[in-house]
Symmetry: C2
């Protein structure tokens, strides 16, 4: 199981699933499946999505659950 931040990245851009789907050339229902975690993106689609959102691929996908923003902040502070 691979976790993803597609929904967050999409809504942050104010896009509908249909619009995102068109941008990365998949069916709009496929975006829904990914966001709900029904199945994983293919590697090809993962690269397309990461490229579209202009983030490194492991910012959009992760084999482990993503940290919350609060956890990220705490980790960043601890790293200083």
């Amino acid at each position: 199981m691979i976790y993803n931040r597609i929904k967050m990245l999409r809504t942050e851009k104010g896009l509908s699933r249909k619009e995102l789907a068109k941008a990365v050339e998949v069916n709009f229902q496929t975006i829904g499946y990914l966001e709900r975690g029904d199945y994983n993106a293919s590697l090809e689609l993962a690269f397309k999505l990461a490229e579209f959102f202009e983030v490194p691929i492991d910012m959009a996908f992760s084999p482990r659950p993503f940290k919350t923003l609060a956890e990220e902040l705490a980790a960043a502070r601890a790293a200083e």
Copy 2:
């Protein structure tokens, strides 16, 4: 089509396909298929491989052909 450096990363470590396959828990023939470009890894397998080789995922996989070492060197020098 996604390009990969699995063969390079594997041989660099002096591993056979069978050994690598065992490490990432797939059939050894699956490694062969990936190295030959017969098909792409799933996102899950891509993460496993990147983690095993301790490289960022886009060092092991890319939607565009990888640069040769010579090109990488030239690019690195130009960036200074």
